[in-house]
Subunit: 368 residues, 2 copies
């Protein structure tokens, strides 16, 4: 019996008559990376060389090629999975990674989210409605300014207050000071107003640095973190979530949108596989350009049954507003988190009011 293999689907922008040949070259590129006729070892040709399973011409004239890739090449390492899926062919503009399917054993080896949707609901106490989320902006603000925002957002009852993804260790407001101020403020507000708001700081740097950031923050009771897997490397997310079982990781798509990996494959599947509990993506109609179907596909992959991995919480974001909450609830249902940032902050003096309106709009029953 042959061993289970990874299935990777690629879109090839080549003449239809060239598609089968191009797919064979791709199978070589993404596995043995040398002429098969120069390989003397039969096992390598039979098992390690990627196989072209199907090549299908699409109505738009491009072709979809499905390759099967040996799991032994992936070594249960997240970075290596990205490498085998799209390492070299990312450099070939006629190739796009469309989809990926992993065998159950490999899915279990990565393990997916520790918390997932249920865990995030447990941590925030938010049940049977979308979670609410906002961002602490702008970078450059002082810890006191951020704490004031935290207090207003927590009082309003927003579930998760995250650092903007541009926060790292700015000299004017370093990680340790910022996290201490924000977390203390959120805990105080939770006690004062009966909330269960979470503060999620943004992780930066290397795995070792993130490890120290998590330890420092966990000491203060922080239970959720923002991480950009394409900036820090997907293996870093994978390692951190293996070590920290009782916190949630919210994945940010920075540096990830333009890699010619279809967003549903990258943000819908791969980030979840590596352990993201919630996945932020740019919703249609905002500052970014994904269309409605792409966004629905991301959310569907985040939540679909998949080898027993916990579902991840889809987080449509990127220029959303309180006015769009009903539409977002219709589009994504209850199992999502709505992230509104700048559109709350622009209310300035009316920030608290606008934040309450956000919370109320999400809590309101959706008209049928």
């Amino acid at each position: 019996m042959s061993k289970p293999r990874l299935q990777a689907t690629y879109r090839l922008r080549v003449e239809p008559g060239q598609a089968a040949h191009r797919a064979r070259l791709l199978a070589i590129e993404q596995s043995i990376e040398m002429p098969p006729e120069a390989v003397g070892d039969g096992r390598v040709l039979d098992e390690v060389l990627a196989r072209v399973e199907t090549v299908e011409l699409q109505p738009d004239g491009r072709s979809l090629a499905r390759l099967s890739i040996a799991c032994e090449t992936v070594c249960e390492d997240a970075g290596q999975l990205m490498n085998m899926l799209f390492g070299n062919c990312s450099l070939q503009p006629e190739v796009e990674l469309v989809d990926v399917e992993v065998p159950p054993d490999l899915a279990r080896a990565f393990g997916g989210p520790n918390q997932g949707i249920d865990g995030l609901r447990r941590l925030t106490g938010a049940h049977s409605r979308p979670l609410t989320c906002t961002a602490l902006k702008p970078i450059g603000a002082t810890a006191a300014q951020m704490a004031a925002l935290c207090r207003a957002f927590a009082q309003a009852g927003i579930d998760i207050i995250k650092d903007d993804h541009g926060w790292a260790n700015q000299g004017s407001n370093p990680f340790a000071a910022r996290v201490a101020a924000c977390q203390r403020t959120v805990l105080d507000a939770n006690a004062a107003f009966g909330r269960r708001t979470l503060y999620a700081p943004s992780l930066f740097g290397t795995q070792a640095q993130m490890q120290r950031q998590i330890e420092l923050a966990r000491g203060l009771g922080v239970a959720a973190f923002l991480i950009a897997p394409m900036v820090c490397g997907v293996a870093t997310l994978s390692a951190l979530k293996r070590e920290h079982h009782d916190v949630a990781f919210i994945a940010h798509p920075a540096l990830g949108g333009a890699c010619r990996i279809d967003p549903p494959a990258l943000l819908g599947k791969l980030f979840r596989l590596f352990g993201a509990d919630a996945v932020i993506f740019p919703n249609h109609g905002g500052r970014f350009s994904y269309d409605a179907k792409t966004c629905q596909d991301i959310a569907r992959h985040n939540r679909a049954p998949w080898h027993g991995l916990r579902p991840a919480l889809p987080v449509p974001a990127g220029g959303m507003s309180v006015e769009r909450v009903p539409e977002l609830k219709r589009d994504y249902g209850a199992d999502c988190m709505l992230l509104i940032g700048g559109s709350l902050l622009i209310a300035r003096d009316r920030l608290a009011e606008r934040s309450r309106a956000f919370v109320a709009a999400v809590a309101e029953p959706t008209p049928a």
Copy 2:
């Protein structure tokens, strides 16, 4: 006196009349990420908000926008530099990162290559000619098969024998066994044939894993490593080179080619800035699609005087052959490393002969 700022140049695929407006939105996206009118703190607007310095219409109808970005947002962290340069706007298909310039202080803070061209020449004893490099393929081979290749390549006098970038910790040939076998073989061959060939294993996984891999390999005398910065995260390269001053890091472009960052900016400048001693890139006329000018620009940025950083060694690769050596020498001069992999291996029984031909072709004086 205002503080020195990063300069980032973007190509905007928008109507000429929209370019100035689009550039202003980009400046917001890549800094404060919220409406400026909602920012109350004057310092943030004056210093932290990115500035549009110039917008220039190009003959092709696109526009080049140069933005200046506050260094305080970067925090001397490599991942955060990528984030501020191209984090969110990587998700906006009309935006491409074309070029980046950093102030001297930031360049010194990152520090660039530890070895650079001079260090690689010292390590290999290869002076006043291009260095030679080949790759151990295919993944799936046994340690004994790889050792046999190592012996033939070292005997032929190839300067650097690197793992193929698909090598990680494959169960059939794990890192520790592979590195021990290859390094011992290369050392033995060096002693027997009077060579100074280096073996460069491929690093995989997280920073912590790579740290252990480097320690293990250094214990065996390994002095060069292959690393894919866009897979592991650029901060990992930056951290490893800060810790290991006396080894060389050869950067592989996997997952890095398709990010709409112009290759000369990513492979020419940023990889060098973060510490790559040698930078592999897909040369024109091979399996990849960069044109000749792009390749020349990569090599030029690798080697140009830049804030006192050591020059990095450009490594044209990706389907090169012995027959192209004279052309490659004309194109890139002596300060480069020529990487030929599959085209040696396809000689099979005549591998040693073909490897010697490679070495001889590189050593031969270039016709004027």
